[in-house]
């Protein structure tokens, strides 16, 4: 307490008695719960009271050099200490800190009061060398660096206290305590942890023993330097171990021979959402916004919280009056009394908000959860913080692929069949996904296949900033791009956006992101009620499937999703085609063609092709479908060889029967033989069809003829000249005696029977073109 006695006292109400140890001339051990606002308040009060000359914080020892940055005015929590292996930026570990984290409070207190700060945990050099904690695996890596033992000490204590819910117990005994002595819990907690450690030892986490040995050594060093005026802020779990008396030699022996990796540290911005997702002790920060509020609110936390909620709901156009707020507070307080809790916790306030402010509905409540309970807070890190590992990874990759960052714009042609070029393409695509547009895809030379890409490269200085910003997403280009793609997939609402994203993922070779993207795609597709959207998405997917094959990316999931969408189209298309006007029908016709092609491209799904044929048949048969679509469906069936002999003629004669309005019949003809898809040749070769068209045309009444003429003209003017002439000659010659029949002989310019010799003469050339000579 020497320090506290000499230091100038802030005008505070009588100081609470200092926590354990301080009076006995021993270091002040403040066992906390990571990210517990109650602990944070307690730490602040205890530090104010004891005024130590040095504060030791649980965190990687190398971070001592970075601690000054925490005082920078541009530094705004939530932030995280990020350690990464220099030679492999993918190996990284994080120590997130929010405004209400006891560690952060301790650091800030020390910086504000001129006390020294030391990080006492095992250096990241060892942590990173021993394990491989990456961004991707949820539990392990994170847990190891932030000191969460396998047994959950809070759950153990809660269980001992007769609580089922550890969270609730913690809230009741620590977070929701009144304004009483804020340091009292430290002693009680340390004692309880001591008992737990006696029972459980290292709690199934042998690494803790090594870390604690390191902490003890650092503590000894600090006491040599600063005397006894030292405070330690660490997980409550470690307190008994730090208080234990051991020999220096024993501790050093534990630390001997640990593997080392060259590690670098920096601060990175963090978000409340990420705090909620990845947490130190696991539980405890499901509600960072709520905890932040508890920490920041000077008094009456429930009343202030309800007012905040009301403000949010009003901003979102939910009428909420002050009377509502009053009733909500009353309900929360009575509910807490009924449940036997000292004060309303998150559960009670949420229940009250639902019953009073949200009128029982979970929809506005979801908003409250998202915006307030978790919160949108995004941290900031000063520009002076060391470079993020992403930049380092990008540099490495760039050098390996011999791509120079040049301010001059230049064009780069890539042949994706070559390995280096493929890697380059993937890197550029990944950077684009990350919002670092170093390269822009350019329209390549005409006639390029799927294995060619052209890029326009230009490195601008602000791209460095973009890279730093993208550092939030991960430590390597691949990991960051994957995380970004996944996040975009979850946020996207339009089906088209996700399809495009899926395509991008394939181009960028982000196989790991695909499952999430595909899942999002399947979900959106399932909920999209507009069949046209689905029909638009399918061709892109079918294309992507082919790209994937070219680039050797696994596309199984993609194929499944595409098949699912095709199923939905099969169900939804016939009703969607009913009662369309001319323009809509013309659009739908394009979709019909696209989907038809796309379904043909889907590999290994013959059942789907059958179902699709069934859909086409229904379309062709249904009167409510516009003529152009019926005609188109009939034609697609014919092309696929799915019509019985003469069925096409039957369909046509039905469509052109006298009762049909001429405009509808003309549209049918347009759908059936219109466009540049060889419809004219069909008429040339099937005289029965031509005869039907001819007969119908001559029977159109004079008045209606001028109506259908433009449509017919459009239909027939699309044919090549030769086809048009043949048709004209056929019509001029008139119907062949003996009735019309298919493939009628006597077409002008053709012999009655094929001449096999002349036909065979073409074969050698065909084989040459198709490259099938060996097989022939």
């Amino acid at each position: 307490m020497t320090c506290a006695a000499t230091a100038p006292r802030t005008p505070r109400p009588p100081d609470p008695p200092p926590a354990s140890g301080a009076l006995r001339g021993e270091p002040l051990l403040l066992g906390v719960r990571h990210h517990g606002p109650g602990s944070a308040r307690g730490v602040r009060a205890a530090l104010e009271a004891a005024r130590p000359a040095a504060v030791l914080v649980e965190g990687p020892a190398e971070a001592d050099a970075l601690v000054a940055l925490a005082a920078d005015p541009d530094m705004r929590p939530p932030v995280a200490l990020l350690a990464h292996a220099v030679d492999d930026p993918g190996r990284a570990a994080f120590w997130p800190m929010a405004e209400f984290s006891p560690e952060w409070v301790a650091i800030r207190w020390a910086l504000d009061h001129g006390a020294a700060v030391r990080f006492v945990d095992l250096p990241a050099a060892h942590t990173l060398a021993a394990a491989d904690p990456t961004w991707r695996d949820e539990g392990d890596g994170e847990e190891e660096v932030s000191g969460g033992p396998r047994i959950d000490p809070v759950a153990e204590l809660a269980g001992a206290a007769g609580y089922e819910d550890a969270e609730r117990w913690w809230e009741d005994v620590v977070e929701l305590r009144g304004d009483g002595d804020p340091t009292a819990p430290f002693e009680a907690l340390a004692e309880a942890m001591g008992a737990l450690r006696e029972t459980y030892g290292d709690g199934g986490h042998p690494r803790d023993l090594i870390r604690e040995a390191h902490m003890r050594l650092k503590l000894r060093a600090a006491r040599k330097e600063f005397g006894d005026s030292v405070a330690v802020v660490c997980g409550a779990w470690h307190v008994p171990a730090l208080a234990r008396r051991t020999t220096v030699a024993a501790d050093k022996a534990l630390l001997k021979g640990l593997p080392r990796a060259k590690a670098e540290l920096t601060w990175v911005p963090w978000t409340h959402r990420r705090l909620a997702r990845r947490s130190g002790y696991g539980a405890g920060i499901d509600a960072p916004g709520w905890y932040g509020h508890l920490f920041a609110a000077p008094d009456r936390p429930v009343e202030r919280w309800m007012t905040k909620v009301a403000g949010l709901l009003r901003a979102e156009d939910h009428p909420v009056s002050s009377a509502h707020v009053i009733e909500a507070v009353r309900l929360a307080e009575t509910l807490a009394a009924l449940r036997g809790r000292p004060r309303p916790g998150l559960d009670e306030t949420t229940d009250a908000i639902r019953a009073v402010l949200c009128e029982g509905s979970d929809v506005p409540l979801g908003l409250v959860r998202d915006r307030l309970v978790v919160g949108d807070v995004l941290g900031e890190v000063p520009a002076g913080a060391p470079a993020v590992p992403l930049q380092r990874d990008l540099d490495r990759r760039r050098r390996a692929l011999r791509l120079k960052p040049e301010a001059q714009e230049r064009e780069l042609g890539l042949d994706l069949r070559k390995e280096t070029d493929g890697e380059r393409s993937r890197l550029l695509h990944r950077l684009r996904l990350l919002g670092v547009p170093w390269g822009e895809p350019a329209a390549g030379r005409a006639g390029t296949g799927t294995f060619r890409e052209t890029w326009r490269l230009r490195w601008e200085p602000e791209l460095h900033v973009r890279v730093a910003e993208a550092g939030v997403w991960g430590t390597t280009v691949e990991a960051a791009a994957t995380a970004r793609a996944e996040s975009r997939a979850l946020a996207a609402t339009a089906l088209g956006d996700i399809t495009a994203l899926a395509e991008q993922c394939l181009l960028a070779g982000l196989g790991d992101a695909l499952p999430v993207v595909m899942r999002a795609l399947a979900d959106r597709a399932a909920l999209d009620t507009d069949v046209a959207h689905l029909a638009q998405a399918l061709p892109a997917l079918a294309r992507a499937l082919r790209y994937g094959d070219v680039r050797g990316t696994g596309t199984e999931a993609l194929g499944e999703v595409a098949a699912g969408i095709a199923e939905r189209i099969c169900v939804g298309l016939p009703p969607a085609c009913a009662g369309l006007d001319t323009d809509a029908a013309a659009q739908m016709r394009e979709r019909l063609d696209d989907v038809h092609t796309a379904i043909g491209l889907l590999p290994d799904r013959p059942d789907l092709v059958d179902r699709w044929a069934g859909v086409l048949r229904r379309l062709a048969d249904r009167d409510r479908t516009p003529g152009v679509l019926r005609g188109r469906a009939a034609r697609l069936l014919l092309d696929e060889g799915r019509t019985a002999d003469g069925e096409a003629a039957l369909l046509m004669s039905r469509a052109l029967s006298p009762g049909t309005p001429p405009a509808d019949a003309a549209a049918w003809i347009d759908g059936f033989v219109g466009g540049a898809s060889g419809g004219g040749l069909l008429l040339v070769h099937d005289e029965r069809l031509l005869g039907l068209v001819d007969a119908w045309l001559t029977s159109v009444p004079a008045g209606a003829f001028t109506d259908v003429l433009p449509l017919l003209r459009r239909t027939f003017s699309g044919y090549e000249q030769g086809v048009r002439r043949s048709l004209g000659e056929l019509v001029a010659r008139g119907p062949r005696p003996g009735g019309p029949g298919p493939s009628a002989p006597g077409v002008p310019g053709f012999a009655p029977d094929p001449d096999p010799e002349r036909a065979d003469a073409v074969l050698p050339l065909l084989h040459l073109i198709l490259g099938t000579e060996a097989l022939a």
């Binding site: 009353r330 009575t334 509910l335 009073v356 949200c358 009128e359 029982g360 399932a526 909920l527 009620t529």
Partner: protein
């Protein structure tokens, strides 16, 4: 102002309940009121209850919650659970009543709204009979007061000629009144409740008097939240209520259990023959209903569109009952997929265009692939075609 006590009690509105542990004690009446049927539990709770009670409450809020959620008392009395569902809901409901706010229970049909409201009134006030049944024709007299016209004509306006509504009686006695199907009541009659709930008074201008509510008075209303459009509550009235939404059963098992039990009861009263092995089909109906309702398959892997219908547990019960009747009278006596397919189709497809697509999509993308559902798929295709 004293209020005569001699009014015949209105019959209690019976809604499909979830069948949770209701004992069938049929002494003289077909269905005794909650406070009579569970008199011994209420008495035991009152004896064991040493917590503070709000004015005129028979039990403390804690004991009321225990009465609804069930438990074992120190003296060994077992309190049967009246409501099987989230504890949170009962706690919020009881607390609402304790904070002197009116309680609005919302939910789709078949979520035990009436059942909960009856038991709450029975536990809090010992009387669940002060009931207004809301209908499109509910007059103002039902929530305020009416007149005995013979007396009114003979003696002029007097307290003797006044016929109090259940709400008025609850106000003067300090007990709990209940309003069923609040959203069916015409808007002008609903408005009559606003003064009662905010000013806690009911003026009788004809006599130049008023009835002021005494502590203990409160009101529990139920409404079907699919009915919102019928007579939507004005925001002024809405503001006087704390709203608790009663959810559909949380787990498939609970729902299957409810459906099976109710189907059995109904089957007995309709004198349908008992069929063996119906549980599989019941499970199937419940699965289909839940998946379409929740918009996601049970395994959580595939999203599906939700049709416009409610697909409540009550409807699942009627689908199964209908299927049973089909199987018993026209089938081979075993509940088969074909017997329920038509019923499901009718329950799901309310809007012929949109819902049919939803249903077919569901059939093709979910049902077709599922193991052991081939028969059902075929039956559904048959009736859908």
């Amino acid at each position: 102002m004293p209020v005569p006590e001699t009014i015949a009690k209105p019959g209690s509105g019976v809604e499909t309940d979830t069948g949770t542990g209701r004992p069938q004690t049929a002494d003289e009446v077909l269905r005794p009121h909650a406070e009579h049927a569970f008199a011994h539990e209420l008495a035991a709770l009152a004896a064991a209850d040493d917590r503070p009670r709000p004015a005129r409450w028979r039990l403390s809020p804690w004991a009321v919650a225990t009465y609804l959620l069930g438990g074992t008392l120190p003296d060994g009395t077992v309190v049967t659970p009246k409501y099987v569902g989230p504890r949170r809901i009962v706690e919020v409901a009881v607390t609402t009543l304790a904070t002197d706010r009116a309680l609005l229970l919302l939910g789709v049909p078949g979520t035990a709204k009436t059942w909960v409201s009856e038991h709450l009134a029975a536990a809090v006030s010992g009387d669940s009979t002060l009931l207004v049944q809301g209908t499109a024709g509910t007059p103002e007299e039902a929530v305020r007061y009416g007149w005995n016209y013979a007396r009114l004509l003979a003696h002029g306006p007097s307290e003797d000629a006044l016929v109090p509504s259940p709400v008025m009686r609850a106000m003067s006695q300090g007990t709990t009144a209940r309003v069923e199907e609040l959203t069916r009541i015409p808007a002008d009659v609903q408005d009559g409740l606003i003064t009662i709930l905010s000013e806690k008074t009911l003026p009788v201008p004809e006599l130049g008097q008023e009835v002021q509510a005494v502590p203990g008075f409160n009101l529990i209303a139920t409404a079907n939240d699919r009915d919102r459009g019928v007579n939507e509550l004005s925001s002024a009235l809405r503001r006087r209520f704390n709203t608790v939404v009663l959810p559909l059963p949380a787990t498939p098992e609970a729902e299957v259990d409810i459906v099976a039990r109710r189907v059995e009861q109904l089957g007995r009263s309709l004198e349908l023959p008992v069929l063996p092995d119906g549980v599989d089909e019941i499970r199937r109906v419940v699965t289909v209903f839940r998946e379409l309702r929740d918009g996601v398959t049970t395994d959580g892997r595939t999203k599906v569109k939700s049709p416009s219908g409610t697909l409540s547990t009550a409807e699942a019960i009627s689908v199964v009952t209908g299927g049973l009747a089909l199987a018993a009278h026209f089938g081979d006596g075993v509940l088969r997929p074909g017997d329920i397919a038509a019923g499901i189709l009718g329950a799901v497809v309310r809007d012929p265009a949109a819902d049919r697509t939803v249903w077919q999509e569901y059939l093709e993308t979910v049902v077709r692939e599922r193991d052991g559902w081939k028969d059902f798929y075929r039956a559904c295709r048959e009736v859908s075609a």
